[in-house]
Symmetry: C2
Subunit: 468 residues, 2 copies
């Protein structure tokens, strides 16, 4: 299986089985936009719930918020996004394709151009006689900068509208709520604000499935610290970020940290490191980012709003702008990496075709268990299987029900393969022996081994498996 093959196979599986569909497909789609189908939405929920539990519920010094996508436009002036949030684009005179200049240079020559002026980039392009990746023509226009914020208008009377922006990052909501949260909760430093939500960047997208989409979902923390010692928090967050990612089951040997060069840093950052994943398209690319934003944002908002946004230490009485360490996680990029990383083909399946298995961490799998009656035309098997199905679904106390699949179509081997392909960790089959001794077979997705378990023990059996 080649790398390109892997991507194609995952894209195809995602569409066929209901993880990810092209958005507006009946209208020919829209600029690399995607919708998440019935299995994809469960995968996203599991990722987001794991993140929220780890970084909000299980900690006492991080506060969740859910802010608006559209805020007062002054926010984006203060943050520097209306002026400093740009992509360098080159247009091909022949095919009119627009190309990210930095990506073109990086992909073809393997060198980074961040921090270079547009003239310097154009010099690199012309010296190396770079061509349009789409039509191979060499008539490229000079590089131009384009702002990434989506603009829209608020107020429903034409000509009397005020321009507003779709947020380009969730981060700004946290700075806007900073003072409110301090007033409500009197937190001591260090403390963080966390948010999950959509953000929008008017980027040129180049395929690679859901890797880069103009609409995407972030999980982000602004962690407020004293300036002195920010490095310690930065290092601690590196561990936390990688630890959570690896706990999802992503292969460590496909992950690495990469430190941004001085030229590459965003306008607000003094140190940034990315977790990169070894993607099947072009190798290591950004997955998550960790940025030291200094006190840039709070200072800017204080200046632009005229409000005093300094933090007051309750014990010492000092007043100052806290500094910020910002771990940013992509929801949809996490889902993509989880799917790519979990995809396996098992050639030893016996039949002519390789067995396709999504080796998802059980915590992330859309269904935890599938329940089958061995034969669909035997009412006594179906009845018993429904009982097991309902038993596993029922909520007990504060414990939520398990998401369980039901399948009574085709032969049992096909049903196993159907569940393997969507990552269901265990299949429970009710057969004739069940009617005699109240046991069922539980078949493991990864080993394909089966064991017989007594029905009354099933709930505990899966509880233990899922708590590992």
């Amino acid at each position: 299986m080649t790398e390109q093959n892997l991507l194609e196979k995952v894209v195809s599986l995602c569409k066929r089985r209901g993880f990810v569909y092209p958005n507006s497909e009946i209208y020919g789609g829209l600029a690399n936009a995607y919708d998440y189908g019935p299995l994809g939405v469960e995968l996203l929920r599991n990722i987001k719930n794991s993140w929220w539990k780890t970084f909000v519920h299980d900690r006492e010094n991080i506060y969740g918020i859910d802010g608006a996508i559209i805020s007062n436009p002054k926010v984006w002036e203060a943050s520097g996004h209306t002026t400093g949030f740009n992509d360098p684009l080159i247009e091909c005179r022949s095919c009119h394709r627009r190309i990210r200049a930095d990506h073109l240079v990086e992909d073809v020559l393997g060198i980074k151009v961040e921090g270079k002026s547009l003239k310097e980039i154009d010099a690199v392009v012309s010296e190396n006689k770079l061509k349009c990746p789409s039509c191979a023509g060499d008539d490229l226009m000079p590089t131009r900068k384009f702002n990434l914020l989506f603009k829209t208008s608020l107020g429903s009377i034409e000509g009397e509208k005020s321009d507003v922006y779709l947020r380009g990052e969730t981060a700004q909501n946290m700075f806007l709520c900073f003072q409110n949260v301090v007033d409500s909760f009197s937190p001591k430093l260090p403390f963080g604000l966390a948010q999950i939500g959509k953000a929008f960047r008017n980027e040129v997208t180049l395929g690679n499935f859901t890797f880069r989409t103009f609409e995407f979902e972030q999980m982000e923390i602004e962690y407020f610290v004293r300036e002195q010692g920010w490095e310690k928090h930065f290092e601690e967050w590196k561990k936390q970020m990688m630890g959570w990612l690896v706990s999802l089951g992503v292969s460590e040997d496909r992950l690495r940290w990469r430190c941004h060069s001085q030229e590459e840093l965003s306008h607000y950052s003094r140190r940034t490191e990315d977790i990169e994943y070894d993607f099947p398209f072009g190798g290591f690319k950004e997955l998550y980012g960790l940025a030291y934003r200094t006190d840039y944002d709070l200072k800017q908002h204080a200046e632009f709003s005229g409000q005093d946004l300094r933090y007051r230490d309750q014990e010492t009485g000092e007043e100052f702008f806290p500094h910020v360490v910002e771990p940013t996680f992509g929801v949809t990029r996490t889902a993509l990496v989880v799917l790519l990383d979990a995809y396996c083909e098992d050639p030893s399946a016996g039949s002519g075709q390789a067995r396709v298995v999504l080796k998802l961490n059980p915590r992330l799998a859309p269904y935890k268990v599938a329940v089958f009656p061995l034969l669909a035309n035997k009412p006594e098997l179906v009845k018993k299987a429904r009982e097991v199905f309902e038993m596993l679904r029922v909520e007990t106390g504060h414990a939520p029900s398990l998401p369980i699949a039901w399948d009574d179509r085709g032969n049992i081997g096909k049903r196993y393969y159907t569940q393997d392909e969507i990552g269901t960790p265990w299949c429970v089959t009710i057969d004739f022996q069940t009617l005699e001794d109240d046991t069922v077979t539980v078949r493991d997705r990864d080993t394909t081994e089966q064991e017989r378990i007594a029905i009354p023990d099933l709930k505990d059996y899966f509880s233990v498996k899922l708590s590992v």
Copy 2:
């Protein structure tokens, strides 16, 4: 406590305690937009999780999806929103305030004007000499229609952009994915698609806290049925909708169904009924809607896209457009009603001030339990209280941890009141007796009664309480 008082008190509590903050408050806000704070985001999560469990996980014929906010613009032409999704607005020549004409007539005269022409509305306004509700001036401009879709541009080069819309309802994603889901899952009628997500309407907003905001979150189901018998499904959904709402603890006597008149129906609907809540501003107003959309949407998309979107019955071979019954729930409006409905003042508290209690359903409460050491300066009490706190937080098997608050500030009475105000159902206090016999006091928010429970029994105690 007057009705207006109630709203003001809830708004103030929400800001003070971290449920809801005005968006961009440091910049003077933005057109009635709000952010959800640390407690508000937990309330929203609990509402959405309850809905998803009830209508997706606990059912076998409803499929969740998570679609993009921005789709191909043809979607909104086909759906009729680019032409038929308007508000009638009147502008005051004196103060330039824009007023919803239908709301003005309804609020002042108590009559509905839906379906009337703009001329007819203007006639009602001038016959009754209606004035601007803002400045009381009588120089009102004629009513004009304004489209509610937010428009933005995709593609990052000025002058080469394509107009796209922020979705005005989550519904259209479900119609776009209809064929994809049928291909992936071969569902039998009736079946539904469900989605939770943000939608945007460029409306004139008039305060009343979060009741009407231009950015809001919906929970929506498109339920596909055969035309024959749609009434039965409609009636069934009325029960389901009201049943879920009442299960959240909202008072039934403040809820009612109201059927839309013929003139009032949306362009796609042949029957619509709203659940209305008796709000403290102006009485009964829309909370949820249930619409029979016929086969309008699938037919329109089939026509505009040229795709065959008919459903094929696997058994009979018939091909036809399914009809749609659509239950729509507002996330943020649910949160508003839950907060208004839960707010109580208990004058019998003894101290001069009334005790403020948010009588939230424990399932919706941001914290389920608060744990206190009786005295913060006794290390042995604090140590024991931390043990109890950690014990209740720890995840066991598939059961999630309980969200638990910790408080060791001020006296115990103040801590109780602090928790009452944010709706925490139970407070656990570790006192000197705990050190002797390993029991704690559990104090009930609603009755203020206390009982002693042995620490090893606490988890089961709360599990039982929370599963009721």
